[in-house]
């Protein structure tokens, strides 16, 4: 898609703040799930309560949430970098 000819290339600050709030909310959500799973595993280890069974599913779930967190951040900051690269005038 071509950039609109008459569109502002720098969003207003409150737009960015809202975007940042979304990113923080998502990061908190994914981080909380990882912490929650880790806590339940820790409890099962402390209570010697079939620790191995807990670890099995956690090995799948934790990396998924960490990966989604990284991916969302990659897109968020990447698109911002891509836009800024287009805005900044060339040194030449």
């Amino acid at each position: 898609m071509d950039a609109p000819a008459n569109g502002p290339l720098t969003p207003r600050p409150w737009v960015f703040r809202t975007q940042l709030a979304l990113l923080v909310t998502f990061s908190l959500f994914a981080g909380s799930v990882v912490l929650w799973i880790s806590r339940l595993i820790y409890i099962s280890w402390q209570l010697e309560d079939v620790f191995s069974a807990s670890i099995g599913i956690a090995l799948v779930a934790v990396p998924v949430f960490v990966f989604l967190l990284i991916m969302f951040n990659y897109v968020f900051w990447g698109l911002r970098r891509g836009r800024r690269a287009a805005v900044q005038p060339s040194v030449d």
């Binding site: 609109p4 969003p11 809202t18 991916m71 969302f72 897109v75 698109l79 891509g82």
Partner: protein, 452 residues
């Protein structure tokens, strides 16, 4: 920014539902809203009086809600999995249908998960699940995997939508919608670097969501197969559930496509060939489902274990036989002949087959869950029976209506067919396919000339 006129866009028909609103939209909202309200009222009754208002009675402790949970999670495989597989296999015909499918996934996953909460007798104690949950329990695995799939599917729906949201931002007249699009567009201007980042993210997500989707329905099956209940303790339950999920998912996708095609006049985008290809995919799934069902039931029959046979016979010739044989007719008897022949694999044919499969797969979930609970392994427990109450029917109707309502609202806010993907396909498909053919065709470079 002065907004551009969306009517001048090449794919203006895709933007029309977003920017113009007719009386039919409000009528649909009102109708679906009334059904959702029925569901809410039913739940309030259940919340106040307890699960006694449902048809559940010992030993049948799971019923409509768990059937709906498994059914909705199955339907969710429509989207992300099918869309990801088509993306990864570079099927060019996928372009108009990926978003339709992905939206189904996100919405039904939410509603499926909601059914678990509805099934709780004391929802006010939900915090105990988080504080003192035992991660050894397959029920908690379920909660984790459904949350993971919902999160991944939402990200997978959102990322490819960014360029389309930017189109909406550029055409939006102002107000809260303009703000919403500005926020969600993440500053998309369509630069080369942004394209590269977005395409990389979409490709990685497509690879990631396939194993997540498969694992989710496998984990759903674990809720049953990890127990020693008759006709649940089966090693093939995982793949059997995954096959059933993809099967019902494709069916739901076809029905939604047909409705959108009719309502939004998308005949140019959703063509008979899309229904034909999905119909062929569904035919494969009909046969796979039959194979798994046959394997599952034959093993039980041959084993002749008394507890298992009690459940088996109640399905085959007992109280639940009408549901079992209806399932066979709806999942095989009706769709197979419709999908097997070119002449009947039309839009109408695939839609009839799909509707039949949706009913059949709901019955399949019912026939897996209820007869086993009504005939438990421990013989000191009396045999049970189950008839749904009006409260359960109301909540189920509310859930289905909620899915439709949210789908309508989504199509009011965002284009239901990906403008960017369709545009890219229009501009590059011939070149992409030609280049791909040159890679593997014997006699390299001797392709017939494609007229310009």
């Amino acid at each position: 920014m002065a907004e551009h006129d969306w009517r001048k866009e090449e794919d203006a028909i895709l933007l029309e539902p977003v920017f113009s609103t007719g009386w039919r939209f409000y009528l649909t909202l009102a109708g679906l809203g009334a059904l959702v309200l029925w569901g809410v009222v039913s739940y309030v009754v259940q919340y106040e009086r307890g699960l006694g208002v449902t048809g559940m009675a010992f030993p049948v402790s799971w019923s409509f809600y768990i059937v709906n949970f498994v059914f909705f999670i199955g339907i969710s495989h429509a989207g992300t999995l099918i869309s990801a597989i088509l993306r990864l296999s570079q099927a060019e015909w996928r372009r108009p249908i990926t978003r339709i499918a992905e939206v189904i996934t996100v919405l039904v996953l939410g509603i499926g998960g909601m059914n678990i909460l509805i099934d709780l007798g004391r929802p006010d104690r939900i915090q105990n699940l988080f504080l003192y949950g035992r991660y050894q329990s397959p029920l908690l695995w379920d909660a984790t995997s459904v949350t993971a799939y919902l999160t991944a599917s939402s990200v997978y729906l959102y990322i490819p939508m960014i360029p389309d949201i930017a189109v909406l931002r550029d055409h939006s007249p102002g107000g809260w919608r303009r703000f919403l699009y500005e926020v969600l567009a993440l500053g998309w201007e369509g630069t080369q670097l942004q394209h590269r980042i977005l395409n990389r993210a979409i490709a990685i997500m497509a690879v990631l969501v396939v194993p997540i989707a498969v694992s989710v329905h496998t984990v759903v099956s674990f809720v049953f197969s990890m127990t020693l209940q008759p006709m649940w303790h089966s090693t093939i339950f995982g793949p059997y559930f995954v096959v059933g999920a993809i099967f019902s998912g494709i069916a739901a996708l076809i029905v939604v496509m047909a409705v959108l095609r009719k309502v939004f006049h998308l005949e140019d985008y959703l063509q008979p060939i899309h229904f034909n290809f999905l119909g062929l995919l569904m035919l494969v799934m009909v046969l796979l489902w039959c194979y798994f069902t046959f394997a599952e039931y034959l093993t039980t029959y041959y084993g002749n274990e008394p507890n298992e046979m009690r459940v088996f016979m109640t399905k085959f010739s007992g109280k639940y036989a009408p549901f079992f044989w209806a399932m066979v007719v709806f999942n095989f008897g009706i769709p197979f002949p419709l999908l097997a022949f070119n002449r009947t694999r039309t839009i109408a044919g695939t839609v009839i087959a799909s509707l039949s499969i949706i009913v059949g797969m709901w019955l399949e979930r019912f026939i897996i869950i209820i007869p086993t609970l009504a005939n438990p392994r421990l013989t000191q427990y009396a045999q049970g029976s189950y008839v749904p109450s009006i409260v359960e029917i109301g909540i189920m109707a509310g859930c289905v209506a909620l899915f439709m309502l949210l789908y309508v609202l989504f199509s009011k806010l965002f284009p239901i067919v990906s403008i960017t993907e369709v545009r890219e396909g229009r501009e590059k498909t011939v070149e992409i396919v030609k280049e791909r053919l040159q890679r593997y065709r014997p006699g390299l470079g001797k392709l017939p000339q494609v007229p310009a």
